[in-house]
């Protein structure tokens, strides 16, 4: 659970601490308690990140999830180098640290007995960013739905497009959506689950295109970054701006569902699919 330290606890809290500090209410939660609650704050219901593996365990019937295309990995096609070094070094370090070879795990499995194809993003790997390999895996997963006539589900948790791949990352928006477009034509249901955070190019592509969009409580979901908007308007934004609750009110998500209820919620919806 080393990743928890990065993504859900204060970076400067010492690793040895068994307390997790909730990002939202700032309560200190005993680590076991936090994990027992599926990384949800028992005090304020803030939903922290969970790993793709944990998500899969949570959603899929035991031993039914079969990963596909794990062999697809990024390349540093632009030889991108910034202040902190090369993209290649970065994704290799991320791989080492997270044990993941991309920001998404894709495959198929059963949810309360219903067959689906799925893509599960993982924030640990480069902030869940959308690169070429990410896009390839997500498209292949939707094509698996297309070919097998089974519903498609994506769990998003992403900072957006992966800058280090330049325009190629932007094009993954079109690539993944071309897959969604095919599902639409064939009338195959697509459910998008938006976890905290889902922003930028991921929100502006497949994550917002669900036939049904489901958000986790308090998830930040938006296109432009908060800071960018505050610069544009030269004033502070309200606290609830770009939250799941804000998006529900503005008509962009169908429901906000607690993590513990998500599996049954999804399978309930899928049970209505009649083809």
């Amino acid at each position: 659970m080393a990743w928890l330290n990065k993504s859900d606890t204060e970076k400067n809290s010492p690793r040895k601490s068994l307390w997790i500090k909730c990002k939202k209410c700032q309560s200190h939660i005993f680590e076991n308690e936090w994990i027992k609650h599926l990384n949800v704050c028992p005090n304020c219901n803030f939903h922290g990140n969970i790993t793709s593996g944990e998500r899969i365990n949570l959603i899929f019937d035991k031993n039914t999830f079969k990963e596909l295309n794990s062999n697809i990995e990024p390349v540093d096609s632009l030889k991108f180098v910034d202040l902190k070094g090369s993209y290649k070094d970065k994704f290799e370090a991320n791989k080492k640290k997270s044990g993941l070879s991309e920001a998404v795990i894709t495959g198929y499995g059963k949810i309360n007995g219903i067959d689906v194809s799925a893509a599960v993003m993982d924030f640990r790997y480069l902030g869940g960013s959308l690169g070429s390999a990410t896009g390839e895996k997500i498209l292949r997963a939707s094509n698996y739905s297309y070919e097998n006539n089974i519903p498609y589900i994506v769990f998003s948790e992403s900072g957006g497009a992966r800058m280090q791949e330049g325009i190629l990352s932007l094009m993954q928006m079109a690539k993944t959506c071309s897959g969604i477009s095919r599902l639409n034509k064939k009338n195959i249901p697509y459910i998008s689950v938006l976890a905290n955070p889902t922003t930028g190019g991921v929100t502006a592509s497949y994550a917002m295109m669900g036939d049904i969009n489901i958000a986790e409580p308090f998830a930040v979901i938006g296109f432009a970054g908060r800071r960018v908007i505050e610069q544009t308007i030269s004033q502070k934004l309200p606290d609830d701006f770009q939250t799941a609750e804000y998006l529900l009110e503005h008509g962009f998500v169908d429901a906000i569902v607690n993590r513990k209820d998500l599996k049954n919620y999804i399978s309930n919806i899928l049970s209505f699919y009649n083809r």
Partner: protein, 295 residues
């Protein structure tokens, strides 16, 4: 079919475009090209509306909320071809730019664009989109009316539009705001225009923690036409004067026209099924990744 035509295209590029391609990069850094792409005198959509399109009938509104002045579109003709043209509409001066929000569209702009593209389907005429935006508008009202949804919807729906779509980047191809009208069968780019996932300044302030590193970011991002052609993201570079289109507006417009016409002709030979299949293949092939099993 798609890979074959891609090959043909690449061959053609190798034969005909290489000199231009070389010239495009020649002597100019990516950052200099960024500056040219944003030059205040650089011809914008309304210049091309005057120079290469005619019989333009502007159509308005998203039928939902508003008419966004940052995106214009309507029926038009280009060298005898009937089309729907849709593009970002930057102003020619500060006043116009404020009115047009500097070509930064809101959700209603993208929704208008989609409506017009569907109108092209109804009339059975191709779509030409003209891309020139710093990006989608990053404001409260845009977020609250679904900036993300509107772009996502366009990208998804453009994959299904049953008429040819030719997209031309004439200045700034700013991220999702550009892509929102940019999913075409052919993507053409002026040699001093840019197309990027993020502005160099934005990228620099995140990855270099200082916007002053924008020139470095511009280089790293591979946002110039020649870089994008090599990455198989665009299909063709359109020549413009070395110092920028504003130093030779008529000639540049003529080149843009020729390129559009050429590509419309190529696409007109395809059946609807072929067109959509090719479009799907084009976008399903976007990106570079490693397949560790096969490599």
């Amino acid at each position: 079919m798609s890979s074959k035509s891609k090959k043909n295209k690449t061959d053609k590029v190798k034969k005909n475009q290489k000199p231009g391609l070389r010239k495009a990069g020649n002597g100019l850094s990516p950052w200099e090209i960024v500056k040219i792409s944003r030059h205040p005198a650089r011809p914008v959509f309304q210049d091309y509306l005057k120079l290469i399109f005619y019989n333009f009938i502007a159509l308005h509104g998203d039928r939902r909320f508003a008419d966004d002045p940052a995106i214009a579109g309507g029926f038009a003709k280009i060298e005898g071809n009937k089309i729907i043209v849709v593009g970002h509409y930057k102003g020619k001066n500060t006043e116009e730019n404020i009115e047009r929000n500097f070509g930064m569209a809101k959700p209603e702009g993208y929704r208008k664009a989609l409506r017009l593209m569907r109108l092209a389907e109804r009339f059975n005429i191709p779509v030409v989109t003209i891309i020139d935006t710093p990006g989608a508008f990053p404001g409260i009202e845009a977020e609250e009316r679904g900036q993300a949804e509107s772009i996502a919807k366009n990208i998804t729906e453009m994959a299904k539009i049953k008429v040819p779509i030719v997209a031309v980047v004439i200045g700034e191809g700013g991220s999702g705001g550009a892509l929102g009208i940019g999913v075409g069968d052919k993507i053409l780019m002026l040699s001093r225009s840019i197309y990027s996932v993020i502005s160099p300044e934005g990228c620099a302030s995140i990855l270099w923690r200082d916007a002053a590193y924008a020139p470095d970011a511009a280089k790293a991002l591979n946002l110039t036409a020649d870089a994008l052609l090599k990455l198989d993201v665009i299909d063709e570079i359109i020549e413009e004067p070395s110092k920028g289109a504003h130093t030779g507006i008529n000639k540049t417009a003529e080149n843009v026209k020729k390129s559009i016409i050429k590509n419309l002709k190529l696409l007109s030979n395809l059946s609807v099924d072929e067109l959509l299949e090719n479009r799907y293949k084009k976008y399903s092939n976007m990106g570079k990744f490693a397949d560790k099993k096969t490599s």
